[in-house]
Symmetry: C2
Subunit: 163 residues, 2 copies
DNA sequence: ACTATATAGTTAGGGCCCTAACGACCGTCC
DNA sequence: GGACGGTCGTTAGGGCCCTAACTATATAGT
């Protein structure tokens, strides 16, 4: 995810330029990037990456599953899951076993050590999320979440039409 | 930037859990990720990465500058700039020359080929940004941008207090 | 002058993400 | 029971991002 700088004259350079739309897109990416970076820094002392933390959470909440299913939930390719699980396995937070029902497949499950680190991770992140969002009144927070949902729908839909 | 899945019972797992705050953070990252991914796909046929496109834009709008300054504007480390500029230079979109005023430094500038690809890139992206954001009424778009700014301020400030 | 400190750009090493291609295996249809 | 199309996980190769360390050069202070 790239960091952003908005040149003063970024707009009005093309027929379709729209200041507010560009600003919204850029700011969204910029804000997410800031949040993601903070989260990654908070997790570093725990020896987990942000992606690894998500995987641990899914495994704890949904139980053991195949790398493919994990990829589906993370919205990430199977190839990417291979790498993240490799890393978690090296640290002993996760275990891979063959799937008796399908000899092509594997089953990934969280270990006791993984459960411990997951609890620490969630405590830490939830505390900070609360602080970060405390500048927004309850109503505004709700509107914000709703707007994000509408943007997601819009982008997903637009992508379906070939262009 | 990781993709997100929100487990049904992600909340109330820690003393400080706050559903709305978590949801806002997750959704922000998720939305940005979606946008970033679409942009990267749009740019692929042009043979430019999203980061590369940003660099070209900065160089065109602000003129030639050192890799360090470029890093400052992108909010990225010098080491990262080395890689992005390497890639842009391989494609002929950018040129590195020694800085006569400081023998440690370099000056990066955009080439004619870079200008061509930049114009195509902006036309393409601006058209899509407009479409993506067209679901939001003008007032809501303004509120959204304002909320993003407040979150950024909040996160930046919170980070300054040691924790 | 000379040394101590700071800065420029690079490299090395690690993480995450993607696409493409591969071997192994599944299931189905003839 | 064999052939085929689909899926599983992995690897190879490319891109971006970071931190730490290194070389070369600049500059401030003695």
């Amino acid at each position: 995810m790239a960091k952003i700088e908005m040149p003063d004259d970024f707009y009005a350079q093309t027929p379709d330029a729209n200041v507010r739309a560009t600003e919204a897109v850029m700011n969204t990416i910029e804000t997410a990037d800031l949040l993601f970076d903070r989260i990654a820094r908070l997790l570093r002392p725990l020896n987990v990456s942000a992606a690894g933390g998500l995987v641990l959470g899914i495994l704890r909440d949904r139980g053991p599953m195949s790398p493919s299913e994990l990829g589906g939930r993370l919205i990430v390719t199977r190839a990417t899951v291979t790498g993240v699980v490799d890393s978690l396995e090296r640290r002993g937070f996760v275990r891979r076993s063959p799937n008796p029902a399908d000899r092509r497949g594997l089953v990934v499950e969280i270990t006791p050590a993984g459960l411990v680190v997951l609890q620490q991770l969630r405590t830490l992140i939830h505390r900070h999320e609360k602080i970060w969002m405390s500048v927004l009144p309850e109503a505004e927070l709700g509107d914000y979440i709703e707007t994000l949902r509408r943007i997601q729908d819009s982008v997903s839909t637009a992508a379906d039409e070939r262009d």
